[in-house]
């Protein structure tokens, strides 16, 4: 007894939705808002991730990054900002740095230490200016190019500083600021080099190099009252083939140095490319919450409307059963109707989500990612919503007694 009723059910759903357009459109709106939010988050997140991914790939793919704190699960990674500048003490220390340097197959190691404090120069520096204390190896690992002058080096004065091009313009009024003086934390510094503009405010080091001052690591420690507060250690392996071995060795060495406590995480490849911008995470978190609430409310809306539809069509259910519809046929009829609402809402939401993402990206340095994962996620959410929230009304319709239904006057 093979029955192919899907086409009939789809036709039915179409007729039903058309007969109450406003009601159907309002029900879809809940799903649309939810799916649009999810699509926008994923598209922008994917765009930001792609930017960093490209950077890693451009650098040869043999980069590993060590961050303080144990690895968190992917969901909280998305919804919680990473603690890069908080009050918590970093678990990475100078002794770790020394031990890492001895590991085989490591080409270069560079600690990153961001400091707070004011920069005084001809003009005051913008509030979000980062002071980064690091070692000369960073230029090699992160492929930093000089516009003029030189990067940090062991051969130059400790009080030397390298500035980003935009910062140079902001505080000295010129792109050629070599020899200019400034003070950081009250200590005098001399500009020895200006970086080439990168225009990559989002990167795996969480430093916008165009708006940053880079000073020597030892000087950074001094400014920080001889405390090393390492936010991140960048490692470059001598070859991509040795990266896995290097990661294993780092793990071993650090565990030993930390008395067996896994209070650090080693990231490679895609793990590094997870966007690190605090602002991005905050926005994504809020949007994710809105999306979740909207999807839930949208789902309740679908269930509500489907229950009304079932009540309105009780007599029709009775007639259909009398004419040979089985309980399963009736269940599928209403389930497909709720799926039609959620899928249509999802498609509109997907388009609206991308429209929002493109509008937002006008104010950002990257464009939204267009990939199948976003489409599949949007469609998946729609289907799951239609099924979950449409199932109860559909079962209720299927279980209704045919004789009682036929006697219902509506």
């Amino acid at each position: 007894m093979t029955r192919f009723l899907i086409i009939n059910h789809i036709h039915n759903a179409q007729q039903s939705l058309e007969s109450s357009r406003v009601r159907s459109a309002l029900t879809m709106l809940g799903v649309t808002i939810g799916v649009a939010s999810v699509t926008a988050i994923l598209a922008l997140g994917g765009g930001a991730g792609r930017v960093i991914n490209d950077q890693i790939n451009m650098l040869g793919g043999n980069i590993a990054v060590i961050r303080p704190g144990a690895t968190v699960n992917p969901i909280s990674n998305i919804t919680q900002p990473q603690n890069t500048q908080g009050y918590a003490t970093s678990s990475l220390s100078k002794s770790d740095l020394e031990k890492l340097k001895k590991i085989k197959h490591i080409d270069s190691v560079s600690p990153l230490m961001t400091l707070g404090g004011t920069i005084k120069a001809d003009s005051p520096a913008p509030a979000n200016t980062k002071i980064l204390a690091t070692t000369p190896e960073l230029a090699g690992i992160s492929n930093l190019k000089m516009r003029e002058g030189q990067f940090l080096g062991s051969d130059i004065n400790e009080n030397s500083a390298v500035v980003g091009q935009q910062l140079s313009v902001n505080i000295f009024g010129t792109e050629s600021s070599i020899g200019s003086k400034m003070s950081i934390h009250g200590q005098p510094f001399v500009v020895v080099g200006v970086l080439k503009p990168l225009n990559k405010p989002i990167n795996y080091n969480s430093v916008d190099y165009d708006n940053a001052v880079i000073i020597n690591y030892s000087m950074g420690e001094k400014l920080n009252k001889n405390n090393s507060q390492i936010q991140q250690i960048d490692i470059k392996a001598d070859s991509i083939n040795n990266l896995n071995q290097v990661v294993k060795d780092i793990n071993k060495v650090l565990l030993k140095n930390h008395d067996g406590e896994k209070d650090f995480s080693i990231l490679v490849g895609d793990q590094i490319s997870q966007p690190t911008s605090q602002l991005f995470y905050s926005i994504a978190g809020v949007t994710a919450a809105i999306a979740a609430i909207s999807l839930f409310v949208g789902g309740i809306g679908i269930m509500n409307i489907m229950l009304v539809t079932v009540a309105e069509r009780t007599r029709e259910i009775g007639i259909r059963k009398a004419l040979g519809a089985s309980n399963t046929d009736i269940m599928y009829q209403f389930l497909i109707e709720s799926l039609a609402i959620s899928i249509l809402g999802g498609i509109v939401g997907y388009v609206v989500g991308y429209a929002i993402a493109f509008i937002i990206s006008e104010f950002l340095v990257f464009s939204p990612a267009i990939n199948w994962q976003v489409a599949v996620t949007a469609m998946g959410i729609s289907i799951v919503m239609g099924t979950v929230f449409g199932l109860y009304p559909a079962i209720r319709a299927a279980r209704s007694d045919p004789i009682e239904s036929l006697n219902r006057h509506n």
Partner: protein, 263 residues
């Protein structure tokens, strides 16, 4: 709609009981009904309101499953047939005609007629073609794409009959098919049913109108959930009383008389 006219029992009911309510409010809508309906019979069921006519029809039509007693459809106990199979039988073997027509208001005429085909697995386009063909028989082919509310009562009931017959069922159940119609429309509908009976279908019709029983081959009256009289049973004792040789003699005498008259 041509079917075999072999007189085999299609419906067999034994001590059928249907109870409504519990405790003090307990009443029996059917209280021990024994009934056998053979292939090709046109049965009219009569009786006062609340005597259990419609309940009986609903049970025969496999719509009501909560009863006591035995029900055999085509010599198969209905209890042993799965729900899904029962639904399939409703679409293939049973055609239901309701008093209040019961067309789906948001579907047009042709889609209403095609509904039983849909549930018996006929593809959509094919089912619409078959529905269109049967509407032609009922002279409704020009109204195929009308909505039910655009037709008159008589036309709607003809649509309902067309829908009941579209799957070529062997059993047609009609619950007061002319209850909501004027006498002219009633006559047309009854002629249609009579024609279906001539074609060999089994028809079970519930009615309040005694005039309509003239179309039936068997009349059953019900009272308080029981079968009060059955014209089938009334005929039997007469047959047993009359001895066959006597009948034969009478027949011969009559034949001789007829021959003489012709001369």
């Amino acid at each position: 709609m041509a079917i075999t006219t072999k007189k085999t029992p299609v419906i067999k009911l034994r001590d059928l009981k249907k109870r409504f309510g519990i405790g003090d409010a307990e009443t029996y809508a059917l209280d021990g009904v024994d009934l056998t309906i053979k292939n090709g019979e046109f049965v009219a069921i009569m009786g006062p309101s609340g005597c259990g006519k419609t309940t009986l029809l609903n049970i025969i039509g496999l719509l009501d499953r909560s009863y006591f007693g035995q029900y055999e459809l085509d010599e198969k106990p209905v209890d042993s047939i799965s729900r899904r199979k029962q639904a399939f039988l409703r679409s293939k073997q049973i055609g239901y005609i309701f008093q209040n027509f019961n067309l789906v208001p948001r579907l047009n005429i042709i889609e209403n007629v095609a509904l039983p085909l849909t549930y018996s697995g006929v593809p959509r386009i094919k089912s619409l073609i078959i529905a269109s063909d049967i509407l032609k028989i009922f002279h409704l082919n020009e109204r195929e794409y009308y909505m039910p509310h655009q037709l008159s009562g008589g036309q709607i009931q003809r649509v309902a009959i067309a829908r009941a017959l579209v799957n070529k069922p062997t059993i047609i159940l009609a619950d007061e098919p002319t209850g909501n119609l004027d006498s002219r429309s009633s006559h047309i509908i009854m002629e249609e049913l009579a024609q279906l009976h001539k074609d060999g279908n089994t028809i079970i019709m519930v009615t309040h109108n005694a005039n309509l029983t003239t179309y039936a081959t068997r009349v059953i009256t019900m009272l308080d959930g029981k079968i009060d009289t059955d014209s089938h049973d009334l005929a039997k004792p007469e047959k047993t009383k009359l001895k066959r040789p006597k009948v034969k003699k009478t027949k011969k005498k009559l034949a001789v008389k007829l021959k003489r008259k012709k001369r």
